[in-house]
Amino acid sequence: MAEPAVQFADVSASRGGRVVLQRVSLVVPQGQTMALVGRSGSGKTTLLRLVNRLLEPDGGEVLVDGQSTRTWDPIALRRRIGYVIQDAGLFPHLTVADNIAIVPRLLEWSADRVVARIDEMLTLVSLDPQVFRTRWPDELSGGQRQRAGLARALAAEPPLLLMDEPFGALDPITKAELHAEFQRVQRLLLAPQNETLPSGRGGGGRRSVILVTHDMAEACALADQIAVLHEGEVIACDTPARVMASNDHRVTSLFGELRLKPEATQQATPRGRE
């Protein structure tokens, strides 16, 4: 049995003196995509930031590959976790190519390998390297920026990817395109072989992903499991279908009109599309 990619064990956290998470326990298995959903202020972003130690828990432990984040070197931890935020967070003073190359260069890859990787990643996210390599972030459309952001997050072959409302700022059509793109990337780009993992698990499987979103349709479309947060507590954690079937009004209220449109649910099941 492989170690889970991420495990939250009885985690509490507060921000600015306000308790945001209360004794949360949650397991993200290797190779799975976990969506964290909930209303604004439910604690989902805080939970995400505990994983790469942008925040520290007040109590409990966050385990990445079986090891507490407290004992990880934060820099080494972060370099093996991809991070994508809304509007991508590309550095405005670097070209698309240089943005993608940041972590590989921090890891001191050879120049040839970095250049090859830039083109590989751009191709992967369907951006023509000839065109986009030298573009500046503010010359890209919202969807192109998000693709470049995904390419940057995946460039150094991280086994874990954190995404915070990555498609939040996009129009519905672009968003749908990117959903498909994300699923394709997940299929094509398998997580790397990594012998150094304490679990000794074999690589080559799917990448583990934690996705924060307030969009239930997005969660259903992309995630293997959905964790519903409500006022700092996980009130449900299951497959999209079972979460959809919940009778808890705190959960059902999140689905809103989605439940009234069965075709949306149908379409939102990832395996249903393949």
């Binding site: 942008l54 550095f91 940041i102 972590v103």
Partner: protein, 537 residues
């Protein structure tokens, strides 16, 4: 304009030196300020709780008037004294704030999400600063540097007052000579220098922006760098180490006397450096004590009252003896007196004096006690003929009372206005205006004021149609001109001491006034006026 070009052409070697000094002052102070301001700015941006005291301190420093700051610094050890070092300290103090501010603003302007992304990607704090925050804050920091440099070029002109050289030399010299051409010779290059430095930094800022690596900016930078290098080289090549440094205060007669001392010493085969146009008595004295200068011409009465805080006296020999002893105690030798007494003179327009029949200060005091019918005729620059014609029907159409204007020193000194008022029972209806000594004669001639106190040896008295009212109660103490020199330097250069002694009694009041007139009225170069004086048969 042609006069200006002619002046620049005839002074080009000296001008290159001054320009070089100016560039060095500004470049060095800005560099030091950047070395202080940028790290402080980074610190303040990192810890907002430190930001307030740091910025507050820089703000406070910025509010100190520049001349006052120079004054504060002179007596301090290490950073103080006279010359380039003190000027650098003051200029650095002024340059820190804009750089500090712009650094903080630039860093705080980097979007939080961008910084968070950088941290989340595994950049170390140093890498976040160097690779992300610094490049994004750089445009703001460059704008701060530009502000600092432009302020610095302006403030560095004032550094001339404490003997740091630079283009301010011409501005102060021009003010002393009341010569707009000379002022412009300093002000115009300073303005151009400010523009050039601003453009150079703007180009540098563009270069630093990876988005617009336009080659023409490289060209602009290269041209500016070449100019800077050329002026530095010119400044260096003409500035050798002199044996003696001659100082002077900041008015025409002092510049002439400084030149006189310099030339007699040079004729004895000793090299000198001229630090003329230093601020007032206090700065010249401090400079002498600190070794910033070795010799300057002082007036015995000034030393007695302004430096040694003794009550004034009209006894020439007694004053000289007292001053000689007091100076000896601080390692300064008083050389033999030059021969003239530059006491204060109460001045009015010649037309007013004639019209109202005033010859003495007592006459003036009498007039002041009367009411409006004795008001002065405020005709700007009235020629004698016009004044004569206007005299008969001098109706008191101007109901304003006598307006007085005095220099800063005259208002403060014990032998100045206070004592004069007591001795003669003078009282003015309105508080006297405080004016720059250099502008006072013109203000009087132009009718902006009606009475003032000037130097008895001023060449402007005749040149501007002014009249000296006789000090009939012998109120003003003696101000015999005498060189004062560092005793150790005089021992080390006996030939220089002998040369200075050779001037004993050689300059009469009439000759001094004539030389002052040639410089102030005829716009002649002080050096050539002094040369002619020494060469006369």
């Amino acid at each position: 304009m042609t006069e200006l070009l002619a002046f620049i052409a005839s002074h080009r070697a000296e001008m290159a030196t001054r320009l070089g000094e100016h560039v060095v002052l500004v470049a060095a102070s800005t560099a030091i300020a950047a070395a202080i301001g940028i790290p402080l700015g980074v610190l303040a941006a990192r810890r907002p709780s430190w930001s307030r005291p740091i910025v507050g301190l820089a703000n406070l420093a910025q509010t100190i008037p520049s001349l006052a700051l120079f004054g504060f610094l002179i007596p301090l050890p290490l950073v103080g004294g006279i010359g380039t070092r003190t000027a650098l300290v003051a200029l650095t103090v002024y340059a820190v704030l804009p750089i500090l501010r712009s650094t903080i603003t630039g860093l705080q302007g980097v979007p939080a999400a961008i910084v968070e992304c950088a941290v989340a990607m595994g950049l170390t704090p140093a890498q976040v600063l160097r690779q992300v925050e610094w490049p994004l804050a750089l445009p703001s920091i460059v704008s701060g540097l530009r502000v600092a440099v432009v302020i610095g070029v302006g403030t560095a002109t004032i550094a001339s007052a404490i003997g740091a050289g630079g283009l301010g030399d011409y501005i102060f010299r021009g003010l002393a000579m009341v010569d707009a051409t000379v002022i412009l010779a300093g002000a115009l290059p300073a303005a151009l220098l400010a523009l050039a430095a601003d453009a150079a930094l703007a180009a540098a800022g563009q270069l630093a922006d990876p988005r617009r690596r336009a080659r023409r900016h490289v060209l602009v930078l290269a041209v500016v760098a070449a100019l800077v290098a050329a002026t530095l080289w010119a400044g260096r090549s003409s500035g050798g180490k002199a044996d003696l440094v001659i100082g002077s205060k900041n008015f025409t007669e002092q510049v002439v006397l400084g030149e006189l001392l310099a030339q007699v010493i040079e004729r004895a085969g000793i090299t000198v450096e001229r630090r003329l146009n230093l601020g007032g008595t206090a700065i010249a004295h401090e400079a002498l004590l600190s070794g910033g200068i070795d010799v300057y011409a002082e007036y015995t009465g000034t030393s007695l009252t302004a430096i040694f805080k003794e009550p004034p006296s009209a006894d020439s020999e007694a004053v000289f003896a007292t001053v000689r002893d007091r100076y000896a105690a601080v390692g300064v030798t008083v050389m033999p007196r030059l021969g003239f007494n530059n006491t204060f003179a109460i001045l009015v327009r010649a037309g007013d004096a004639r019209r109202l029949g005033m010859k003495t200060v007592s006459d003036l005091a009498g007039r002041l006690r009367l009411k409006p019918e004795a008001t002065p005729q405020a005709t700007p620059q009235a020629t004698p003929q016009v004044t004569a014609r206007a005299t008969p029907q001098a109706t008191p159409q101007a109901t304003s009372a006598w307006r007085a204007g005095f220099g800063y020193e005259f208002l403060e000194r014990p032998d100045g206005l206070k004592g004069l008022s007591a001795a003669y029972g003078l009282s003015f209806a309105k508080a006297p205006r405080v004016m720059d000594l250099n502008l006072i004669y013109r203000a009087l001639a132009a009718g902006e004021i009606d009475v003032t106190a000037g130097d008895a040896t001023s060449g402007l008295i005749e040149a501007l149609g002014l009249t000296v009212l006789e000090d009939d109660r012998r109120y003003f103490p003696v101000y015999d001109a005498a060189p004062v020199a560092r005793a150790s330097v005089m021992r080390h250069y006996p030939a220089a001491a002998a040369a200075i002694r050779s001037l004993a009694g050689r300059v009469s009041a009439a000759e001094m006034r004539q030389m002052n007139f040639l410089v102030d009225g005829e716009k002649q170069d002080p050096a050539s006026v002094v040369r002619a004086f020494l060469d006369r048969p």
